[in-house]
C-alpha cells in the first residue's frame, strides 16, 4: 500500500520548489494551487456549455413557436428575435447584453425598492441607482459577485444562441412533411395535439444538422467568456503562462504559447468528440423516419 504514501511524499517535497529539478519540478509546478484553479476553469467552460445548451434550446423553441403564431405582434416578436442576430457580429452582443441586462435589472429593482428617489439615474457618464438596488449588493461576498457575472454571461450566450436555434427549429418545423399534419387532422386531433404529438417528435431529425452545427459553434464561442470578465481558461492561460521572475516559487520564461497550445488541443478534442457523438445521434434519430436515411436503415435491416 505504498501508493498514497508516495503520492503524499511527492506533495510534501513541493514545499521547496527551488531545490527541485526536471520531472519532479514539473510535477510540483503542475499541481500548484494556481494550476488547480486553472483545471477548475475547464469545469467552468463545461458548466457553461451544460447550462447554455438547454437554455438556448428553450429560447429557440419559444422563438420558433412565436414566429409561427397567428397573433401578429407575437409573430413579429419571434421573427424580429431571429433576424436581430443575423447581421450583427455576435461579439457585439456578448459585450452589449450583459451590461444591458445588468442595468435593466438594477433599474427595475431601483423602481421597486426606492420609489421616492428623486435624482436621475443617468448622471452624465454614470449610472446611479440606490444602494439597495445594486446587483449584487455591495455587502455580498466575492463568490456572489462571481456567480452573478457568470449568470449574466450564460444569459448572454443563451439569448444569442437561442436566436440561432429559433431559426433552425423554425425551419425544421416547416420541413416535417405536410401529409403527416394532414393525417393528424384527419384523425380529429386539435391543432395543439397535432403540434405536440406529431410535429414536435418528428422535427428533431430535420433540426439535427443545424443544431449540431450550432453546438460546434457554441463550443468555439466559450473562450469569449474571457471578454465578459469570467476567470475562464483563457484568463488562467495568460495568468500562468506569463514569464515569472525569481520572486515567484516557480520562475520560468514566457510560456503562454504552450498554455495556448494546450487550449487548442482541448478544443480540438472537444469538437472531435462532439462530431463522433452527434454522428451516432443522427443514426439513432433517423430510425423509423420518413427520410432517405430512415429508409436506408429500414432496407438494411431487411
Amino acid at each position: 500500500m505504498g501508493g498514497p504514501a508516495v503520492f503524499m511524499d511527492m506533495f510534501n517535497s513541493c514545499s521547496d520548489p527551488s531545490a527541485l529539478e526536471g520531472i519532479s519540478w514539473l510535477a510540483c509546478y503542475l499541481t500548484s494551487g494556481k494550476h488547480l484553479g486553472f483545471y477548475t476553469s475547464f469545469g467552468t467552460v463545461m458548466i457553461l456549455l451544460a447550462i447554455t445548451a438547454p437554455t438556448a434550446l428553450l429560447f429557440g423553441f419559444s422563438g420558433a413557436m412565436a414566429a409561427r403564431a397567428r397573433f401578429l405582434p407575437l409573430r413579429l416578436l419571434g421573427k424580429g428575435y431571429t433576424a436581430m442576430v443575423r447581421g450583427i457580429p455576435d461579439i457585439a452582443f456578448f459585450l452589449f447584453v450583459p451590461i444591458a441586462l445588468d442595468q435593466g435589472l438594477e433599474w427595475m429593482r431601483h423602481k421597486v425598492k426606492c420609489p421616492d428617489w428623486q435624482e436621475p439615474i443617468r448622471q452624465g457618464s454614470d449610472f446611479v441607482v440606490c444602494a439597495q438596488a445594486k446587483l449584487p449588493l455591495s455587502t455580498s461576498p466575492q463568490w456572489v459577485h462571481e456567480t452573478y457575472g457568470f449568470f449574466l454571461a450564460v444569459l448572454a450566450f443563451s439569448v444569442v444562441f437561442g436566436a440561432f436555434a429559433a431559426n433552425v427549429l423554425f425551419g425544421a418545423m416547416r420541413a416535417v412533411p405536410h401529409a403527416q399534419m394532414e393525417t393528424a387532422q384527419a384523425y380529429g386531433m386539435t391543432e395543439r395535439q397535432s403540434f405536440w404529438r406529431i410535429l414536435v417528435p418528428q422535427m428533431w431529425v430535420y433540426a439535427l444538422p443545424g443544431l449540431s452545427n450550432l453546438w460546434m459553434i457554441l463550443i468555439k464561442a466559450t473562450p469569449l467568456l474571457f471578454l465578459l470578465g469570467v476567470e475562464d481558461i483563457v484568463y488562467w492561460a495568460r495568468e500562468l503562462g506569463g514569464s515569472k521572475t525569481s520572486i515567484y516559487a516557480y520562475p520560468h520564461p514566457d510560456w503562454r504559447l504552450y498554455y495556448f497550445l494546450g487550449l487548442l488541443v482541448f478544443y480540438l478534442s472537444l469538437t472531435k468528440l462532439s462530431e463522433i457523438v452527434l454522428g451516432r445521434v443522427t443514426v439513432k434519430l433517423s430510425r423509423g423516419q420518413a427520410t432517405l436515411a430512415g429508409e436506408a436503415q429500414r432496407k438494411a435491416a431487411g
Partner: protein, 279 residues
C-alpha cells in the same frame, strides 16, 4: 465643436490621421458615429485582404483534399480540421504569443550568396499578424465549402470535358473550377459575411491596439466603458455592420449572376443569407 469639424478630426483616427487624443467627456452622437465608422476601416481592411488571399489558398486546399494521394490529402484535411475545429479567439492568442517569441532583432537567413536579416517585429502588429490568422482561418472554412462543391460537380460535365479531349489544368480551369465556384457561391457569400463579423475579434484577443488605433467594436467598447451606456455605441456598430453585410450581399449577387449566366432562369440559385456565427 461642429459635426463637420468632428468628422475632419476623427474620420481617419483609426489609421493614425487627424486628432491624436480621443474625446474624453461629453460625447456627442456625432463623435460616436465618426469614430466607430473610422474603426470600420480596419474591419474592411482585414475582411477584404483575408478573403482575397484566402480565396486562392482555399482553392488549392480544396483540390488537395479531393486528391487521391494520401500524402497530399492528409495535410489538407489536418489544416481544415485544426482551423475549423478550434476557436478563432484561441488562434489569435496562439499566433500572437508565437510571433512575440520570435527574436526581436530579426531572423538571420543564410542564403548561399548573402546573409539577409528578416525583420519579424511587424508580425506582432495586428495589421499583419491578425491578417495572417484571419487569412488561414477563412482559407480553412472556404476550403471545406469548395471541397463540398467540388464533389457535387455533375459527372456529365467532366465526361463532356473528357470527350472534348481536355486534360489537366485546362479541364480544371475551363470546366471544374467554374462549376465548383457556381455551386459554392451562396455558401461562400455567407462565409464572407461572417469573416467580416469575425474581424471584430482582433482587438479583443492577443493583438493590442497600438496608439488606440482600433476597429469599430474597439471604439464602441471605449465609449461604452466611458459613458457606462451600452445603448448608443453598440447599436451604431450594429448599424454599420448591417450596412456592410448589405454591401457584401450586393456585390456577391452580381458575381452570382455572372457565374449563373449560362443557366435557364429557373435553375439559378439565389443567394440566401443563412446565419452561422462565431468560428
Amino acid at each position: 465643436m461642429s459635426c463637420a469639424q468632428t468628422v475632419q478630426d476623427y474620420a481617419l483616427r483609426s489609421i493614425g490621421m487627424g486628432e491624436r487624443l480621443l474625446p474624453r467627456s461629453d460625447f456627442t452622437l456625432c463623435e460616436q458615429f465618426t469614430l466607430i465608422g473610422s474603426g470600420l476601416i480596419w474591419n474592411i481592411y482585414f475582411g477584404v485582404f483575408a478573403l482575397l488571399f484566402g480565396f486562392f489558398l482555399a482553392t488549392a486546399v480544396a483540390v488537395a483534399r479531393a486528391n487521391r494521394l494520401w500524402i497530399i490529402r492528409k495535410p489538407a484535411e489536418w489544416f481544415i480540421f485544426v482551423f475549423r475545429g478550434s476557436p478563432l479567439f484561441i488562434q489569435f492568442f496562439l499566433a500572437y504569443e508565437a510571433f512575440v517569441l520570435l527574436p526581436k532583432s530579426g531572423i538571420e537567413l543564410n542564403l548561399i550568396f548573402t546573409e539577409i536579416t528578416a525583420d519579424t517585429r511587424w508580425l506582432t502588429r495586428a495589421w499583419a499578424g491578425a491578417l495572417i490568422v484571419l487569412f488561414l482561418n477563412t482559407s480553412a472554412y472556404t476550403a471545406e465549402i469548395f471541397y463540398g462543391a467540388l464533389r457535387s460537380v455533375p459527372k456529365g460535365d467532366i465526361e463532356a470535358a473528357d470527350a472534348y479531349g481536355m486534360t489537366g489544368w485546362h479541364k480544371f480551369r475551363r470546366v471544374i473550377w467554374p462549376t465548383m465556384l457556381r455551386l459554392a457561391w451562396p455558401a461562400y457569400t455567407n462565409e464572407a459575411i461572417f469573416l467580416f463579423h469575425a474581424t471584430t475579434l482582433v482587438y479583443f484577443s492577443g493583438f493590442p491596439a497600438w496608439q488606440q488605433k482600433g476597429d469599430a467594436l474597439y471604439y464602441a467598447s471605449y465609449f461604452a466603458d466611458k459613458t457606462f451606456n451600452p445603448f448608443i455605441p453598440y447599436p451604431i456598430v450594429a448599424f454599420y455592420f448591417i450596412l456592410l453585410t448589405l454591401v457584401v450581399i450586393t456585390i456577391s449577387s452580381f458575381v452570382n449572376r455572372r457565374l449563373n449566366r449560362h443557366l435557364p432562369r429557373e435553375a439559378r440559385r439565389p443567394i440566401r443569407f443563412r446565419p452561422q456565427v462565431i468560428r
